[in-house]
Amino acid sequence: MDAMLHISTLHYLVLGAALFLLGVIGVLTRRNVVIVLMSIELILNAVNLNLVALSRYWQGVYGPNALHGQVFAIFVITDAAAEAAVGLGILIAFFRNKETINVDEVNLLKW
């Protein structure tokens, strides 16, 4: 097989790191709460990608039953769903009272 086309664990990790950084930048710079929530999903997807790729790597070392990473990924997916549900619920409650979803108008509490 052509060595140039071989995708190693490292490639996945670099992609995961890129997704993670995109997510972090998104959370820090975006004003719309929905986009901030999407950026957080991006971070969690970077985590999942890492976990699955690394699980694949460790399967090569410890045999096919070394599935810790994939199990962890399933838990992270569940958690992301729960977080998004509660996040959107809180956002709706907030919108009802304030009629905005921009982070910089979340300004009642400040020091």
């Binding site: 959370v27 901030v36 985590v47 810790h68 020091w111």
Partner: protein
């Protein structure tokens, strides 16, 4: 079929408090449907009974461990490690929750938000906390963390009609989910480096990782993990969510968050960084990397929080900054020791601190909760004005809590600081110890500012005596008694902490006690 038969009854015994709390939480959700509006107090009673049952479950585990002469036991294929350390935290969470339930009863009626979900979520978040304290597998710790965090997001936003509550919940959720994401990323790298999710296995493989070219990745993993951990315990520079969430949340939840949720964050931090006191593991091999980080964070936390607290006019916000400052002092306990060697006295200081902090801080928030009546929200500094003439007992108790928070002997708060600073001095960190003492004195200013308002402030006209409910009296009585009792006779509690850490009593301290 193979999986379930692998679990013996000890597995279920070790998870007994977790199982009981889950059942009670779900039970409250069901019963709440059938309760008429004027019977909603029954939810609080059910939750309280649930906490008592869970405590009985913890006692059962303790007796079983004692009968088998074990300091702890693995459960569920080594994902759970219920050791004395975990049991100590179980009691801390249950105690904090029980007092918070007592504080909530009248407050929720005053806010017209007396729903069963409140208590169900509270119990579920305790389930999460227990998974964090007893988890010995990063998957379980992460899931416990999220269960606790998501329940708390909803509780912070529980006053649906109050804009401040909505806003606090939104900020808490965004920053909390963000930090969880960073934390999970760190955990995924740790898994990748060591090939295991079990903290002991991680510790076993970590030294080899640190020897070769994987070390930079290990450092990234440590940085992201520790960022997530510091977010959860609200250390500067990751503290910005705390004052907002504390101010906007229902006051009873602020009290709950500042003690139980914070203790859970600490349990998780200690689990990840040092493993169990009976089985040192986790990221302890990287101690030489995380100690300098914590030195920076600790100084930043003490400085930032103490200065920010000076200018606050809202009592909940002021106490939020004070609780951040306390995190700074507690972090010093992890720094004590040498770069490679952990100081058991420092960890002991942290556990004593968390114990006394639970009572004194919950008590202070209890007094502020009791100020909520009729149209008064009661969280401004001015609302404390003349409290002594309106409710003398509450005012005196508040003074006790405030002085204890400031660390004045012979109150409980003094012992928390005493052991931390002692561990620093005995391991030669004189500058940090001096800085800690300096900031403790500094903190006295804003605590006395509140005391000044209570005793010297002018009562506004038309303010009659403050009605304090029976359950609130019980909550304040328990916390006030504990603050005084631990302060005057600490040996029993210090023995308890020694038991939790499995260290023999330090002879120098023993001499001081008797």
């Amino acid at each position: 079929m193979g999986l379930l038969s692998q679990f013996s009854w000890t597995d279920y015994l070790l998870a007994l408090p977790i199982i009981l709390l889950t059942l009670f939480a779900l039970g409250i959700l069901l019963i709440d449907f059938m309760l008429p509006a004027e019977m909603k107090w029954a939810n609080a009673v059910t939750a309280f009974i649930g906490v008592l049952f869970a405590a009985a479950g913890v006692v059962k585990i303790q007796l079983w461990m004692h009968a088998n002469a074990l300091p702890g036991s693995y459960g569920f294929m080594r994902t759970l490690l219920v050791d004395r350390f975990a049991i100590y935290f179980f009691y801390l969470f249950l105690g904090g929750t029980a007092v918070a339930i007592l504080m909530s009863m009248r407050y929720l009626e005053a806010e017209h938000e007396n729903h069963g979900e409140y208590y169900a979520l509270m119990l579920l978040s305790v389930v999460g906390m227990m998974c964090m304290a007893a988890g010995f597998d990063i998957v379980l710790i992460f899931i416990g963390l999220e269960l606790m965090a998501i329940s708390t997001y909803v509780l912070v936003g529980f006053l649906r009609r109050d804009r401040r509550s909505n806003e606090a919940a939104l900020k808490y959720l965004l920053l909390g989910a963000f930090s969880s994401g960073i934390f999970a990323y760190g955990l995924s790298l740790i898994y990748g480096l060591t090939g295991s999710t079990n903290l002991y296995e991680i510790a076993r493989h970590l030294p080899a990782v640190l020897q070769d070219e994987r070390k930079p990745i290990a450092i990234i993993a440590l940085l992201t993990t520790i960022t997530g951990l510091l977010f959860k315990i609200a250390a500067v520079p990751f503290h910005q969510w705390a004052p907002d969430a504390y101010e906007g949340a229902p006051t009873s939840i602020t009290g709950f968050m500042s003690v139980a949720v914070k203790a859970a964050g600490w349990a998780m931090l200690l689990r990840i960084l040092i493993g169990s006191p009976f089985l040192l593991s986790g990221l302890l091999a990287m101690r030489s990397t995380w100690v300098p980080l914590l030195v920076f964070v600790s100084i930043a936390t003490m400085t930032g929080a103490n200065f920010a607290a000076l200018t606050q006019t809202n009592t909940k916000r002021l106490l939020a900054y004070s609780s951040i400052a306390h995190v700074g002092y507690m972090l010093l306990g992890l720094i004590a020791g040498t770069v490679t060697q952990l100081s058991p006295d420092g960890i002991k200081g942290i556990l004593v601190y968390l114990l006394v902090y639970t009572f004194m801080n919950l008590g202070a928030f209890g007094v502020i909760t009791s100020l909520r009546h009729k149209n008064v929200i009661g969280d401004e500094l001015d609302d404390l004005n003349g409290l002594y003439s309106r409710a003398p007992v509450e005012a005196v108790l508040m003074l006790v809590f405030l002085l204890s928070l400031a660390g004045i002997p012979p109150l409980a708060g003094f012992w928390g600081k005493y052991f931390i600073f002692l561990s620093l001095i005995s391991s030669g960190h004189y500058v940090l110890a001096a800085l800690g003492v300096l900031y403790s004195v500094f903190g006295l200013y804003y605590y006395l500012k509140m005391a000044n308002a209570m005793f010297m402030g002018k009562v506004e006209t038309g303010e009659e005596t403050l009605p304090v409910s029976l359950t609130m009296r019980a909550a304040l009585g328990v916390t006030g008694f504990a603050t005084l009792f631990i302060g005057i006779m600490p040996d029993r509690f210090i023995q308890m902490v020694n038991w939790a850490l499995g260290i023999a009593q330090n002879p120098a301290i023993a001499k001081l006690m008797h």
